[in-house]
């Protein structure tokens, strides 16, 4: 049966629905030159690695926000998350034109001083070769029900 267009089966973003081991994703995208240029401009970076036709690699954290897409694909909600900590391991640069797959997993949840924290690990790979490009872990505190900002 076809679903109504406005039907939203995503879980509410709240502590009760964030569980350790929960898998998020995958999401797929192509590394676009427009994004590389826009990101370099926004961060006032003129390194030719990002603009030279012979290089065309993506700035290291250009797709760091993939965590937001992973969360938004699984959860709905208002406002109320704050990014507290971030960790990255870079294996290979993302290159313009490359198709990338990103998968995530909730690795830890805990409460401290009345606040709910969670850690989300996510990694990006070349969608065709599965070569590992980057692995991130972000820690956020959920102030009240709602999605990360």
């Amino acid at each position: 049966m076809a679903r109504a267009m406005n039907e939203d089966e995503r879980l509410l973003m709240c502590p009760e629905n964030l569980r350790e081991g929960m898998k998020l994703g995958p999401i797929f995208y192509v590394v676009m030159p427009e994004q590389v240029e826009a990101f370099a401009r926004a961060t006032a970076n003129a390194n030719p690695l990002y603009t030279s036709p012979s290089e065309r690699i993506a700035p290291p954290t250009m797709r760091l926000q993939d965590y937001g897409l992973l969360i938004a694909a699984h959860f709905r909600g208002g406002s109320g998350g704050i990014h507290a900590r971030h960790r990255s391991e870079f294996y290979e640069p993302m290159r313009v034109g490359q198709t990338v797959r990103t998968d995530g997993r909730i690795t830890r949840t805990w409460r401290k001083r009345g606040k709910f924290y969670f850690e989300l690990e996510y990694e990006s790979r070349d969608a065709e070769t599965e070569e590992l490009l980057v692995r991130h872990a972000m820690t956020a505190v959920l102030l009240r029900e709602g999605a990360m900002q």
């Binding site: 990101f39 926004a42 390194n47 030279s52 290291p60 760091l64 926000q65 990014h83 960790r87 640069p93």
Partner: protein, 148 residues
């Protein structure tokens, strides 16, 4: 810098160029992180005074990851593309960054090993308050590891 640069000696402090994080830069950053845009923008602590106040901030704040991006970019600029072949970065967001603040990336060499150089990294605002602190590891360039 495209090639791997020699790593500085232990104790040396490296400082980046100041970066003014105004609303325009924040909007440009927000527009750049998702291409094509996949989510509808909604009121948040980054763009809505009321949402910011509810979360305990006097005004909207910049995304912490924009400061984090400055550090990562700085490491590539300073050490070359080798940072993207085995480099590591970890940071805690200590203080909010309000629009109009000027940020400067700092790094201090803690150790130089055969395989990597370890650094303390931080970002200061114009009052010399740390808004981000952390550590980084940069793989030794091939010619350096051969000489070590």
């Amino acid at each position: 810098m495209n090639v791997s640069a020699p790593h500085p000696e232990v104790g040396r402090e490296l400082v980046g160029e100041p970066y003014a994080l105004n609303e325009a830069e924040a909007h440009a950053y927000a527009a750049a992180i998702e291409r094509p845009a996949e989510r509808h923008p909604r009121p948040s602590i980054h763009n809505d005074p009321q949402a910011a106040r509810k979360a305990g901030f006097r005004a909207p704040i910049a995304a912490g990851e924009q400061s984090y991006a400055l550090v990562a970019n700085f490491l590539v600029d300073r050490f070359g593309v080798c940072f993207l072949h085995g480099g590591k970065l970890e940071a805690i967001f200590l203080k909010p960054v309000f629009y109009g603040q000027r940020l400067t990336v700092h790094a201090r060499v803690l150790a130089r090993g055969r395989s990597a150089t370890e650094l303390e990294v931080w970002v200061e605002n114009e009052d010399c308050d740390r808004v981000l602190t952390g550590k980084a590891s940069v793989p030794a360039a091939e010619h350096e590891s051969e000489l070590a």
